[in-house]
């Protein structure tokens, strides 16, 4: 009886909700905060600490990015430019970087920013007592000096191209931290930086409030207040957006394509779309004999229709990935030779060549063993699960039997990845701005808890990776990365699936937004309200 009653209620409630579809007057529905030149954004997570050296989560870096500066930063075209450093020189041998710091920059408490702050930030990051995740890049530093208040010099043992970008790390105020325990500093809850916004208030579990810095060296930001609301559920956040309680959020593909195309919505909001810095891939455990044959991996890639996955999983909001780089960035090679496109006939031919014959049950076999494997993915990511299901269907058609297993993240890492106990994984990587691939692809990174967990070892690729990170010459680096993409396309250690689109939506009362390769947040301090 109960299910029937429940059904009836569902129908009733749904009808009530729909019958109220008449357009209401929107003016009354604005939340009290979403007016004036306050800007309200929503976040699923809450920052953990506002000392960026100690934080690892995106919410913390969202706030830290507005409160602090680095020495360098990426501009809207993803090229490095000076931030707290006005300029820099790399010595001809590539071993020393000299930063010339901007003069007249003040901390939010009024003290001058000098090279002492940079030196302190470097020292605390490499200090073994600091529980930071970011020491690695700075361990390559041989010596760091501050010859005067506005010059900072670092010397490396060998040329290290990602070094320059690593100085984009947020610089901490030495006068408030030196000689104190950074893990117990009050700055974690009320930071003092040099950035465009001054920290004002943090109401735990609810919101953080920042205010425009009138003395910011690039000029005072035009939006006077930045409110970061913590809304852990994305459906709730979408309701808040529609009710005027937040000005900006990231949409899901379904929301972007299906729920936000009404005239009324488009009059109140501007939607943006650009490739996100991430890709999703199917990775093969190369310790297994089955996957050691490159023809099998190429055959699987040929059998998978990536475009179909993008349509099915992202509703078209993404593009095909061929390699580990984001389309449109300088290291990305648009046309890669040997890249296997969707071609099931070719897949079958490759598998035949590799010695597989079709069995009576429609599954390919070799030496009596069926071609069958399990795709492992983590729980809580619906897109990955759907992609795995589409792949399963396609591979079945060429005679490969695929099972899917979804595992909780912690267990996924400790019981499967760390122990190398998996056949294939469906996962994603974020694409860093610097194209160095050492951590994920170099053969020295195949140990436990290291990121080349599929155990891919290719001496030529190793050589190119080392060459690419060992020079500051952009032309030379690009050649290395182009070649790397060709090798990966030929070898297919991963089947690179797609680069999803970022789909932010911003209230149309906010003006001055300029979409660029870096996204929309690059000129945030110039956004304004009419």
């Amino acid at each position: 009886m109960i299910p029937l009653r429940r059904l009836l209620l569902l129908v009733l409630l749904t009808l009530t909700a729909c019958s109220q579809g008449a357009p209401a007057d929107r003016a009354g529905s604005r939340g009290p905060g979403a007016n004036g030149s306050s800007f309200v954004t929503g976040s699923i997570g809450e920052p953990s600490t506002l000392i960026p050296t100690l934080a690892t989560d995106t919410s913390s870096s969202d706030i830290a990015g507005l409160v602090y500066n680095g020495l360098v930063r990426y501009d809207k075209n993803l090229k490095l430019e000076g931030d707290l450093a006005e300029s820099w020189e790399v010595s001809p041998d590539g071993l020393q970087i000299t930063f010339h710091l901007r003069r007249g920059v003040k901390w939010h408490d009024g003290k001058d920013f000098t090279s002492r702050d940079v030196l302190y930030t470097y020292r605390v990051t490499v200090d073994p007592k600091t529980p930071t995740a970011y020491a690695e890049d700075f361990k390559q530093v041989q010596s760091a000096q501050a010859p005067d208040a506005y010059t900072f010099k670092v010397r490396y043992a060998k040329p290290f191209a990602p070094a320059l970008a690593s100085w984009g790390m947020n610089i901490l105020p030495a006068h408030l931290l030196e000689g104190r325990d950074i893990t117990k500093s009050p700055l974690a809850r009320s930071p003092i930086g040099t950035g465009p916004y001054i920290f004002k208030e943090w109401i735990p579990g609810q919101r953080l409030i920042l205010e425009a810095n009138p003395n910011y060296w690039e000029g005072k930001p035009r939006l006077s207040r930045y409110v970061y609301r913590i809304i852990p559920d994305s459906s709730t956040m979408y309701m808040e957006l529609k009710a005027g309680g937040v000005d900006m959020m990231g949409l899901s593909p379904v929301q972007y394509q299906r729920q936000t195309n009404t005239k009324e919505f488009l009059a109140r909001f501007n939607k943006y779309r650009y490739p996100a810095s991430a890709y999703t891939y199917l990775g093969y455990n190369l310790r297994l004999p089955m996957f050691q044959d490159a023809r099998v991996r190429r055959a699987i890639t040929c059998a998978i229709n990536k475009e179909e996955i993008i349509q099915g999983v992202l509703l078209g909001m993404g593009q095909i990935a061929h390699g580990p780089y984001k389309p449109g960035t300088w290291a990305y090679k648009a046309k890669v030779e040997n890249d296997p496109g969707y071609d099931p006939a070719r897949a079958q031919a490759l598998l035949r060549e590799a010695g597989y014959v079709m069995g009576a049950d429609g599954i390919l076999t070799k030496d009596g063993k069926p071609l069958s494997f399990t795709i492992l993915t983590n729980q809580g990511n619906d897109q990955r699960l759907k992609a795995a299901q589409i792949i399963q269907m396609r591979l079945k058609r060429v005679g490969i039997d695929v099972k899917i297993r979804v595992v909780e993240w912690a267990s996924f890492l400790t019981n499967f990845i760390d122990k190398g106990k998996f056949e294939a994984v469906l996962l994603g990587w974020t694409i860093s701005q610097d194209p160095d691939l050492f951590d994920v692809w170099h053969s020295s990174k195949t140990g436990p808890k290291e990121l080349n967990f599929i155990n891919y070892k290719n001496p030529e690729l190793d050589r190119l990776i080392v060459e690419g990170r060992g020079t500051f010459d952009m032309e030379k680096r690009r050649d290395c990365y182009y070649r790397i993409q060709e090798i990966l396309a030929k070898d297919q250690p991963y089947t690179f699936l797609y680069v999803p689109d970022a789909l932010p939506v911003v209230s149309s009362r906010i003006k001055g937004i300029e979409p660029a390769p870096a996204g929309i947040m690059h000129n945030f301090i110039k956004w304004y309200v009419e």
């Binding site: 905060g33 579990g205 890492l413």
Partner: protein, 326 residues
């Protein structure tokens, strides 16, 4: 009675120790560590930084040493520092979330008892009539409808369409500037939807319980006697029957004590209420051992105290128990 009380209270200590030992072991058995959860799949983290983080949190020591240290701190009422990157004292994290959780739960509990008891009595008195069935349908609908779904519908209807009520959170932006009365009104508006939906969902259990005990009592001989004497039906029900039917409810009230600091994760997430449910969930997902243990210890204490109170008040209310055990 005093002896009994002292015995009961002394019993609590080994019980509590046992609970902490088991929970400590179980949470460490779960795969993954705080360090792992913070640094996994990050290209920037080397084995050394990982070791450094483990050492910082004391995770490099054997489990019994970790437990001993934790227990030692606890005996000084120090819950330790969170293993999240903020490394704040666990007690601070709990303190900032407990007021809203308790207020919400107390209001919801009062409403739940205030509504469910009369509903249950009504259903029992009008047993097997249309009214009884209608009540059953109503409370079971509340029980069966998924909270998140109902919450989203209500948010859409009252928040987006009608703009009567705020959608999420517990304060409006800028509510700090309002006068006291305005702030209370603002808070009240934010709590209407969560409390209404929480109460609706919890009516079924208690009202059905009330209904069945009431029916049981109404079939007793002394009720028949009272009716036979010609006592008015209202007096029979509210004076003679209700008093006895309420006895088991006291136990339920005792059991509700630990629930006061607990919160539903789904519920708090949907309404963006910074309560204990979310804190606990995040703690578990991040393997933040001190935080999880802290919340569990408080929960365990409240459960034990709740049980004790229930037993004691039962003894106070029911002379048979009081005299029987002494």
């Amino acid at each position: 009675m005093a002896n009994y009380l002292i015995k009961r209270i002394l019993m609590l200590i080994p019980l509590l120790l046992g609970i902490t030992l088991i929970t400590f072991t179980v949470i460490h058995l779960a795969p993954g560590e705080p360090v792992e959860m913070q640094t996994a799949m990050s290209p920037k983290v080397s084995a050394q930084s990982r070791a450094r983080l483990r050492e910082f949190y004391g995770l490099d020591k054997p489990l019994h040493v970790q437990y001993g240290k934790w227990l030692g701190n606890l005996s000084r009422l120090d819950f330790g520092r969170s293993f999240a990157p903020d490394n704040r004292p666990v007690l601070d994290k709990i303190k900032e979330r407990i007021p809203i959780t308790i207020s919400l739960n107390v209001i919801a509990l009062i409403l739940e008892f205030g509504l469910a008891l009369p509903i249950g009595i009504l259903a029992a008195v009008h047993r097997d009539t249309l009214l009884d069935r209608a009540i059953s349908v109503f409370v079971f609908v509340g029980f069966a409808v998924p909270t998140f779904w109902l919450a989203l519908l209500c948010m859409y209807f009252f928040g987006v369409k009608l703009s009567w009520l705020p959608i999420s959170g517990i304060h409006s932006l800028g509510s700090e500037q309002l006068p006291f009365f305005g702030r209370v009104l603002d808070l009240g508006k934010h709590l209407v939807l969560p409390i209404a939906i929480a109460t609706f969902g919890s009516l079924a259990g208690l009202s059905r319980y009330m209904r069945s005990t009431m029916i049981e009592v109404l079939s007793q001989d002394y009720i028949t006697t009272a009716r036979a004497k010609g006592v008015k039906e209202r007096v029979v029900i509210y004076r003679h029957a209700l008093k006895n039917a309420l006895l088991p409810v006291i136990t339920l009230l005792g059991f509700s004590l630990p629930a006061l600091i607990g919160g539903s994760v789904i519920f708090e997430t949907i309404f963006s209420i910074p309560g204990m449910g979310q804190l606990f969930y995040q703690g578990v997902m991040a393997r933040d051992y001190p935080l999880v243990m802290g919340i569990l210890v408080i929960g365990a204490c409240l459960t034990l105290i709740g049980n004790l109170l229930a037993d004691l008040s039962y003894a106070l209310a029911d002379p048979r128990i009081r005299h029987g055990k002494g």
